[in-house]
């Protein structure tokens, strides 16, 4: 085209970023990339390679090694060997290493950006202006935690060797999110990049070596899903951190059950983008662009469900469609585009098929009449309007540039629709009324809420989901804990379970008989007869029957969970109010201390002194959580923007608690008190062998103003009740203390709704030790952190 023609048409023309350096780097590795293990590139044991493909052309960029069991073994061993020395380095030394990595990323910024763009298909603008700068930021930020580790995490130790599996949508950025905190806090890593996008991880490994990172600290094993599965199942790994689909996340949860590996999962989403009628409409339209057409919509936290207040829906959609017509889809290295290529043909087909389903189910399709490049995997920006809540496209994550829209009438309805999903990763709220926006944000079931913004990320602000969007946080202090474990739990020994005793039935005499007392269950604030109408005898260690309790079954759990769910108001009660009730429980228990001590002695066979000590510890513990209730507070993060991010500690919801046999009342209180202090509602299963102190405790609950449904207690067989609770999809979290088998069962079965789990793997906790059994060590598991981003300015 000539100058004159451009002058007349005023069109943009091509503006390609140079790829000379990237091509030269690929050329150097023409023979194939090895795995990066122990500080050097090694050829794969199996000798197998697969192609790295440019999705915008289908051209082959290079050959990447297919990792097998031997490769994973080698990498695991290298990481294990390095972990001790790495963790023993002073924090300052590790800080220098991370600082060097940040600097090295900046020195190689353009090369990384170009390789990322051609490997993934995303626009160079995004890799250059967002991904790579964020990568550097993550290493700088976490260099800081390395520096401060000794003082800020004095009671924590590194987890050990971490297996990290990252997705293809932000290959390098997800590497940084995972690698930076892991290394900063003294862990070593075996990283498995996504099959579609391995190149920047390999380039990063090269850069890290040049930057002086010690051998074995970071290992990269490339490959497909089977390589990931091998890593997940590997015995030499202490933790798996995964970002990817909810489907694979659930498989990993199942596979790691019983292995003792800790697990964080960052999974999918179907995040709402809520626009109220008092929003800056043009600002919100532009927000939609950043929400769903960023990275071709292949973003786990994409604002993919547009909820618009009915009165402005017509205007909003008209302006949105106009905006869509000005989006440009083009080659990733073109500097004049908004969207690049979909990562791979298989993903493109999935998007096409889901959109076809959406249309078949009645959605109205809009795609602007814009040109797409020929040859590669491209898909236009797409709007499906008039979508109903039941539609497939309203419920399933599409992971493509497809927005679905619905309307709402009132703020309550907006919240209801926003939360009408299995997911809970993020949400955007658009309103110019501060009261409205700040009222809505806490009501949304999402780990990240952006007010008048979308897709803001920073290393200082935790990112992660509620519900089936996974668990764990990345970024911020909340994220650092995912790569640490409490020192106090490190030396725990396996619990020794003694044989059950047989009942010694004594023939009745002519003395005045004891008044029969059969404990019922405690559900919805009332003592309730068990549904099955069976009871079980509770024996002393000598086999003497000391009482009977109800034999809880599935329906009792169902009723208890329903009662807990309907006590939602507890989560909104003031922290002061919750504290008062915890103190009141302590006060009422104190008044009956002798009686409870006697019960414990009779039931468990411990000495009177030991039983009295347990009651005193219970009273003190209730006081502690009364104290914590209004002091385990969130934080205000200060990411680089004019605004703040509020990290709020929110209750998880309905939590099942399986209590161990030792210290039967103290363990119960140690587990239940932190949960209710933070606003959760509890369905607790007391010690199977020694439940009577807890059933006696009903009366303490009844006299202490605990609202109905906040604490529910179902006695019975721990294993059966654990299974029912784990399989109940309206239970949000589960704490399992007791046998290893029970813990494994819970881990395996928790995949239904991806419950947050806290299990002891059959390891014995000393409930009398405040370090191990009281305070933030448990409170951190009793909350989920929601980060509310609030940019401001007039």
């Amino acid at each position: 085209m000539s100058v004159a023609r451009y002058f007349d048409e005023m069109s943009y023309g091509p503006a390609p970023e140079a790829d000379t350096e990237a091509r030269a780097w690929l050329k150097r590795h023409e023979a194939g990339f090895g795995h990066f293990i122990g500080g050097t590139f090694v050829t794969p044991e199996g000798g197998q390679y697969f192609d790295a493909v440019d999705p915008s052309t289908g051209n082959i960029l290079g050959r990447v090694a297919q990792g097998g069991a031997d490769d994973v073994d080698k990498a695991g061993a290298a990481a294990r060997k390095a972990q001790g020395p790495w963790a023993k380095l002073p924090g300052h030394a590790r800080a220098r290493h991370l600082y060097a990595l940040a600097r090295a990323v900046q020195r190689n910024a353009r090369l990384l950006a170009v390789v990322e763009a051609i490997d993934n298909g995303k626009p160079i603008r995004e890799t250059r202006d967002i991904d790579v700068p964020q990568v550097a930021r993550h290493f700088y930020y976490h260099a800081g935690w390395a520096q401060l580790q000794a003082s800020e995490f004095a009671d924590q130790v590194p987890v050990g060797v971490v297996g990290q599996i990252i997705p293809w949508n932000f290959p390098l950025l997800m590497l940084a999110w995972k690698v930076a905190p892991a290394l900063a806090l003294g862990n070593t890593v075996v990283l498995k990049p996504a099959e579609f996008t391995s190149l920047t991880a390999l380039l990063f490994a090269e850069i890290a070596t040049e930057a002086g990172l010690p051998a074995g600290v970071l290992n990269v094993v490339t490959g497909d899903g089977s390589t990931g599965a091998t890593l997940v199942g590997h015995g030499g790994i202490d933790k798996i951190a995964f970002t990817g689909s909810s489907e694979v996340g659930k498989l990993i949860r199942e596979k790691t059950a019983g292995s003792g590996k800790s697990l964080t999962l960052e999974l999918g989403g179907k995040s709402p983008f809520i626009v109220f009628d008092d929003a800056d409409i043009d600002g919100a339209v532009e927000g939609v662009v950043d929400a769903i057409w960023f990275n071709q919509g292949q973003v786990c936290c994409a604002g993919s469900r547009l909820l618009v207040q009915e009165g402005i829906a017509e205007t909003f959609l008209a302006r949105l469609k106009r905006r869509m017509a000005t989006l440009r889809v083009g080659m990733p290295l073109d500097k004049c585009i908004d969207m690049g290529a979909i990562v791979a043909p298989v993903q493109l087909e999935r998007i096409k098929s889901l959109v076809a389903t959406g249309v078949a189910e009645g959605a109205e399709l809009f795609q602007p009449n814009i040109d797409l490049p020929k040859g590669g995997s491209f898909y236009p920006p797409t709007l499906l309007s008039n979508v109903h809540t039941a539609a497939t496209v309203a419920r399933e994550e599409i992971f493509g540039p497809v927005l679905v829209s619905m309307t709402f009438r009132t703020p309550d309805e907006a919240v209801m629709l926003a939360n009408n999903t299995r997911y809970g990763l993020s949400a955007s709220v658009w309103s110019e009324t501060i009261g409205l926006a700040l009222d809505i944000a806490p009501k949304l079931q999402a780990g990240v809420v952006w007010i008048n913004a979308t897709n803001l990320f920073d290393a200082a602000v935790g990112f992660g989901g509620y519900r089936e969007s996974g668990y764990g946080r990345e970024g911020g202090k909340e994220g650092a804990f995912e790569y640490l474990k409490p020192k106090a739990w490190s030396g725990r020994k396996a619990r020794v379970v003694s044989e059950a005793v047989a009942e010694e039935v004594a023939v009745g005499g002519f003395d005045m008989p004891a008044l029969d007392r059969t404990a019922k269950l405690f559900v919805g604030g009332k003592q309730a007869r068990p549904d099955g109408n069976y009871s079980r005898a509770i024996l002393s260690p000598k086999g003497v029957k000391v009482g009977e309790v109800g034999e809880g079954n599935r329906k009792d759990i169902r009723n208890a969970v329903a009662a807990a769910r309907s006590a939602e108001g507890w989560g909104r009660a003031t922290a002061h109010n919750r504290a008062q009730i915890l103190y009141y429980l302590a006060e009422n228990l104190s008044a009956r201390a002798a009686e409870f001590a006697g019960r414990i002695a009779a039931m468990t066979g411990v000495s009177k002194a030991k039983a009295e000590a347990e009651i005193e510890a219970c009273i003190s513990r209730l006081f502690s959580y009364g104290a914590w209730a209004d002091k385990f507070e969130g934080t205000v993060h200060t990411p680089p923007l004019r605004g703040v991010a509020l990290a709020m500690n929110e209750p998880i919801g309905v939590v099942g608690v399986i209590c161990p046999d030792e210290a039967p009342l103290l363990a119960f209180i140690s587990l239940v008190a932190p949960l209710i202090a933070m606003g959760n509602r509890v369905v607790a299963v007391p010690s199977e062998r020694h439940p009577l102190a807890v059933t006696d405790f009903y009366q303490i609950i009844e006299t202490s103003d605990v609202p109905a449904g906040v604490i529910n207690i179902v006695t019975g067989a721990a294993r059966d009740l654990t299974k029912t609770l784990t399989e109940h999809d309206d239970v949000d979290a589960l704490w399992v203390f007791g046998t290893k088998e029970n813990a494994t069962l819970a881990e395996k079965l928790s995949v239904g709704n991806l419950k947050r789990l806290l299990v002891d793997h059959g390891l014995l906790t000393d409930w009398f030790d405040g370090q191990a059994a009281e305070g933030p060590i448990l409170l951190r598991h009793a909350v989920q952190v929601k980060n509310i981003w609030i940019p401001y300015g007039e």
Partner: protein, 337 residues
Amino acid sequence: MADLKIAPIGGSHPIYRTGHNIVARNVAMPLDLGWVQGVRVNLSAAERRVASLPGRRTVKKDAHAAWLLKAITCIDLTTLNGDDTVARVQRLCAKAKSPVRTDILQALGMADRGLTTGAVCVYHRFVVTAVEALAGSGIPVAAVSTGFPAGLVPHDIKLKEIEASVKDGAQEIDIVITREHVLTGNWQALYDEMRDFRAACGDAHVKAILATGDLKTMRNVARASLVCMMAGADFIKTSTGKEGVNATLLVTLIMIRMIREYQERTGFKVGYKPAGGISAAKDVLNYQFLMKEELGRDWLEPTLFRIGASSLLADIERQLEHHVTGRYSAYNRHAAG
């Protein structure tokens, strides 16, 4: 790579030539206070849009040269200084008629287009000088005629000044609004003032200078934009060039979104003029991108887009010479304006 085929708002997709296209003149409307009060602007969201735009749009090579040439046709070549004289204005007018060296235009294949700036902008005192100097060129003279730049002379004097400028041959009048009306939320007063200015202009086109640097908040800017359009402004313009902060991309985004909204509701296309502070070629491109993206193709022509600038042209000339020769250019190689 193929170009986007974006239908401009309103439908047709004509091929443009330098010079004026026919745009139906804004006929104004009664003041709609509900609309004005309903304006919402989120600063952070607006900032993000303008911050990401330069990463989303760029032009290279021939397209780059073409966009810069187009920018020249939109420049209101301006001198508004206390030391202006007849000879100074005459020199400026000569530059307006021949803004780029002929050999450069030839090399670009654009020598036959009769390229000129969009207008010459002067104080009332020099309207006659400019009209005479530009006679036969088709370049309109714009006058700043309402007690520029503070706009605090008596209202009737402002109207008389406008009438005098029009009588002297100014085809465009750049008025300044009374900022007090905006800062106190007296929209009726702003509307009345603007309506009087428009009436005084007669057939001359009127550009309303909001002095956005004085208005401070984006909400003020948006509301003032809207009220001036309701009262009949043909263009809305950012600044006099004399405020602490003059044209910015942010304020541009806010104002042109109001232009779009006004068009959505009334059908009239109002023009936009950023003024002050745009002195580099790479800066003006971002303004052009914003016009094309937010308003459409029509707003890249001088009928609907003007740039108030004095030193921008010199930088564009250097860039054009670089495009032709591949060598970086110097100011002294181009005729002074």
